[in-house]
Amino acid sequence: QVSELVQFLLVKDQKKIPIKRADMLKNIIREYRDAYSEIVNRAGRTLQEVFGLQLVEIDTKRHIYILVNNLPHSEGQYLCRGKEKEKMGLLLVILSFIFMKGNSVKDSESSAKIRFVVPHFPFAPHSLTPPFPGALWEFLHLLRVYPGKQHGVFGDVRKLVTEEFVRQKYLETTHIPLTDPPEFKYQWGPRAEKETSKKDVLNFVAKIQGKDPTFWASQYSEAEAVP
């Protein structure tokens, strides 16, 4: 059962969509339900000892797992299929932006320039364009990445960011209450928390901008503070 589960997890991890306990029970463990935790523990040990991968439960309530690489970075080429590497590039840029902006950035349903209406007040509704300098899509505009336009490398970028990255748990979107049109905020998802760190991301920003990480004092102290 253990080796079947190991294979199951490795294949399920291909798309980087987190694995649910329910799927594991249904497909592999089946009648051995009572031994579930023992089987999972042993599978985790095998994954670590044989593949150097860590089985991490990112949602203890709903029992959802991901595989994370536990080996130190090797200097060689990172083997990837398809557009994996480019997507990771975009993701890194987004995660950096979110962190440097205070761990949370806003976006709204419609495009960057929207009409902001508050109907709840008895006054005549105003309409204004929220600037949010630094909102995620405004930032990506600067990199020639547009939500409404098909991108040469990423295709439907909005779908990639709001669906794929979110489903993979790299990003998390939360609806801000009582906003109309609905507004969301983007934060790091649990997979991002496990696969990278604020420190790594700050180092990336520092490298790109040719500055020392300590240049951004509060981000630096936040990055150092994480246990």
Binding site: D13, E84, E86, M88, F121, V153, E195, N203, A217, S218
Partner: protein
């Protein structure tokens, strides 16, 4: 209502709005108005949280525009002096492998599990069906072959026996002929059986001679030099006693290729 101006850290508009809401609340007497007031509080607290956030990030101001420009540089953007068309940003051109360049750098910052793929791909589900058919055919043909075999074998064995018998008879005749020609000179056993050209033949000859001896058609004696000699016997009735008594001697002769040479 005017979210942006409230967010401005320099403005006190949020505080003013809160104070006004407080005043208004005193005049509230209907449930609907109370609900409105509650909604206002939610919005106000959200704005308050955002203001606090902005304060925090302003401590170490992050210039996202500068970051974007540096990223473009990293990705290999071409900034030329000429202006080809006045529509777009003059002379700025992002190469097609821009994101590939980023893709080379990015994995270093992630502890991402390499995706697992079978090297040889998976088995296709078709082959099993033809395989069964082939197996059945094989079984059928094998049955026939087996049936054919026993018949052949029988034939072979028969011929084998015949061959041996013929050989033995032949050798006996040779022996008898030799003895008739010269009855007083013993025939050396070795001279008789050894074929100077073939070791295998020699062994065969010895084998055939042994039949003669077994059947009492020849006998081997030791001469004065202790060397074996062979002579034919006449199978006669009187020989029965002899065969009972004396013919049960056995001789083991060992001969290897070296000795034969």
């Amino acid at each position: 209502e005017n979210r942006e101006s409230m967010l401005n850290s320099k403005s006190n508009r949020l505080t003013e709005a809160l104070e006004e809401a407080n005043r208004l609340f005193d005049g509230v007497c209907r449930a609907r108005e109370a609900a409105l007031d509650a909604q206002f509080l939610v919005i106000a607290s959200n704005i308050g949280k955002e203001k606090a956030n902005e304060l925090h990030s302003e401590m170490s101001a992050f210039d996202s525009t500068a970051f974007a420009e540096d990223l473009l540089t990293f990705m290999g953007i071409n900034r030329t002096e000429e202006t080809d068309d006045s529509e777009d940003v003059p002379g700025v051109f992002l190469p097609s492998d821009a994101w590939q360049t980023m893709g080379e750098e990015a994995p270093k910052y992630f502890r991402r599990a390499p995706t697992f793929h079978y090297m040889m791909g998976s088995f296709k589900s078709e082959p099993p069906v033809p395989k069964q058919r082939i197996e059945r055919q094989k079984k059928a043909s094998r049955g026939k072959a087996e049936q054919a075999m026993p018949a052949q074998l029988k034939k072979m064995e028969e011929s084998h026996q015949e061959a041996t018998e013929k050989e033995v008879e032949r050798i006996l005749r040779i022996l008898q002929t030799h003895f008739e020609n010269d009855p007083n000179t013993p025939i050396s056993f070795f001279d008789f059986v050894i074929d100077p050209n073939s070791f295998a033949r020699t062994v065969e000859n010895m084998f055939h001679v042994s039949f003669l001896i077994k059947d009492g058609l020849a006998k081997i004696k030791l001469d004065e030099d202790e060397l074996p000699i062979i002579e034919p016997l006449k199978p006669s009735g009187g020989g029965e006693e002899d065969s009972r008594a004396g013919a049960r001697n056995q001789v083991v002769v060992s001969l290897d290729q070296k000795e034969w040479q």
